[in-house]
Point group: C2
Chain length 341, copies 2
DNA sequence: ACGCTTTCAGTTATCGGTAACATAAAAATA
DNA sequence: TATTTTTATGTTACCGATAACTGAAAGCGT
């Protein structure tokens, strides 16, 4: 492995001079600089960042802790974050928690041992505050993405779950639906709570019923074929007058699971049941826009959170924490249908 | 930042003793070990990997250079790789090249400066051999994923493009298609060449025509709305007897672009044109299996390539390079239709 | 009880950089 | 020309961990 000492010897200068050339610091005579640059090129020298970070106390590496990059929403987030990282000279360490609190814990430790400069995290649940605090103890600032956590004080980039939820339910009501069920994510996740709030308030505002069993919690983690089956079965076996004509699935994965279950019960979408959800179901939307969704600007989520993180790192004047709430776009498509009175 | 020296002071031992406790090396009295462990817990100490890597000469970090994690195929690859990395105690540095050779170059340098122990890479084209060699010069072994490159000697994990291609075309022929076009990826990518080879051979074997314009190159990079438009337009404006009744799109992204163009021309799939392609178009397949595809085991691609890489790192006895070719699964679905003679 | 081996813990030097200080050479000033 | 200032480069020490060596204490056999 070629080091700064090899360059120094070859160029007949001290290692420090080489360091100065590399970092463009201090004063260097043109002739010296050229000698050194020649040696660097000839030996194909690339600085050892591990050694650098030992003195500089920064690694130029950021942690990206997502729940599952297989979800197109998070894939786009990662893409946005990575692009911005490249632009600002940072590297990205990737981690998938699978909504598992324990995995999140070990990845948190991994990020600490890797001495990342900062972390972007989609917390698995409200308990995740522990992990954020652990990172803070080690002077690693954290930006929360998509979900926030009770008691969290730092920067976060969120979607407007409440508003999107209201608009989706509003749309269903406009289409004449009265029995609307919510298949929600776990309630210990902020987005689930916000979406439920929007759902409940909009129904109440329109004097519509929220029968028991209308709201159910679906575990994001179970991506098994029939995850939503028991939930959907229960909904669809309600008495005729209570049986939902529309289902609000809290996110894209849940929507897919719900539609699978409906298929299995020989129920058609939208003829028998209308469906809405948060987040696009890509790449279908490109060629066969089907789902009525509250689309969130996923790439922006990634870019902005990385931007915030970098600004906090390079700008210690930043005291105030910042919170952005990005509004979703409602796309009305074929998964929802008007029903007659 | 709490270091090994802080622990040493607190436990009233030397730093070396602390190091021994952490690494479980050498002989330590039980009482001493407990003292040290207590101090570690109390101060929440986590070793600085940057410092470690300086002596050990390994970072326990691997580079994953993909073209675009937004493609579900690569998202799954990343997932598989990451899972295996976690299992074997490695971290993953993520990079997206966007099929851009220059980006690949800078990411290669990034990986070298980060002193990753190894790299998994989907090369952008045949020139990428340069980058692999550059990595090799710095003693960083590389596993190629999905695509190989002329002159490459190391490990690689590929799909069976040739066989999959033959089976897809075979299927179209079985369904009565005689005019079959190929919208291929760039020919400086191994998978494109292999798929074209399978396509051409199968047509020839069945005495079917390959008219001019039947084979076109589509640039993966242009994910713009109408990327395939001119290609599809040209195909569809051929004389009646030459106009293709089926299109073989080289991969999922191309298929989406093609189907978009067809839509725009008011042509239906599969009624007017049948379509087949490589790789699933997830997550649609879960709830509305539409595309007839050669599905590749993406997660396995990731897992196996990481496995290979780690084995090479930890097992310097490995001289021979290894090459796996994973066969695709053909799923016949609704994007293809029988046509009468 | 004496010498010899084994166990346990500490010292020193090093990995590859850079900050901080030191010094030599060149330029500016008196 | 002598003196000060500026510019260019070198030296030393240190970041946090560990390998290699050294030394002290404990175990062990006769």
């Amino acid at each position: 492995m070629v080091t700064i000492y090899d360059i120094a010897k070859k160029a007949k200068v001290s290692p420090m001079t080489v360091s100065r050339v590399i970092n463009n610091s201090g004063n260097i005579r043109v002739a010296t600089r050229e000698k050194v640059e020649k040696a660097i090129k000839e030996l194909g020298y690339i600085p050892n960042e591990a050694a650098r970070s030992l003195t500089s106390n920064q690694t130029k590496t950021l942690g990206l802790i997502l729940t599952d990059i297989t979800n197109p929403f998070f894939a786009k987030v990662a893409r946005g974050a990575e692009a911005k990282a490249m632009e600002t000279g940072y590297r990205i360490l990737l981690a998938n928690t699978d909504e598992d609190f324990e995995k999140e814990k070990s990845y948190t430790d991994m990020m600490i041992s890797a001495r990342v400069d900062g972390v972007i995290m989609t917390p698995t649940n409200d308990e995740s505050l522990k992990h954020v605090e652990r990172l803070n103890q080690h002077n690693i600032p954290t930006v929360l993405l998509d979900r926030t956590v009770e008691g969290f004080e730092g920067d976060c980039v969120l979607g407007d779950s409440y508003k999107g939820s209201r608009e989706l339910v509003r749309h269903l009501i406009d289409y004449g639906h009265k029995n609307i069920a919510l298949v929600n994510g776990p309630r210990n996740i902020s987005t689930s709570r916000e979406r439920e709030r929007g759902y409940v308030e909009t129904l109440k505002l329109n004097d519509l019923p929220i029968h028991e069993n209308y709201i159910s919690e679906f575990d994001f983690r179970s991506m098994e074929p029939h995850a939503a089956h028991s939930i959907v079965e229960k909904l669809m076996s309600l008495d005729e007058d209570k049986r939902p004509t529309a289902i609000f699935a809290s996110n894209n994965f849940i929507a897919i699971s719900v539609i699978q279950s409906l298929r299995q019960m020989n129920l058609r979408v939208p003829e028998d049941v209308s469906i809405v959800c948060f987040d696009e179901i890509e790449p279908v939307e490109y060629f066969d826009p089907f789902f009525t969704v509250a689309a969130q600007p996923a790439t922006e989520f990634g870019k902005i959170s990385l931007q915030y993180l970098v600004e906090r790192l390079e700008n210690d004047g930043l005291e105030q924490s910042r919170k952005v709430i990005l509004p979703p776009d409602i796309h009305i498509r074929k998964s929802t249908q008007r029903i007659e009175e």
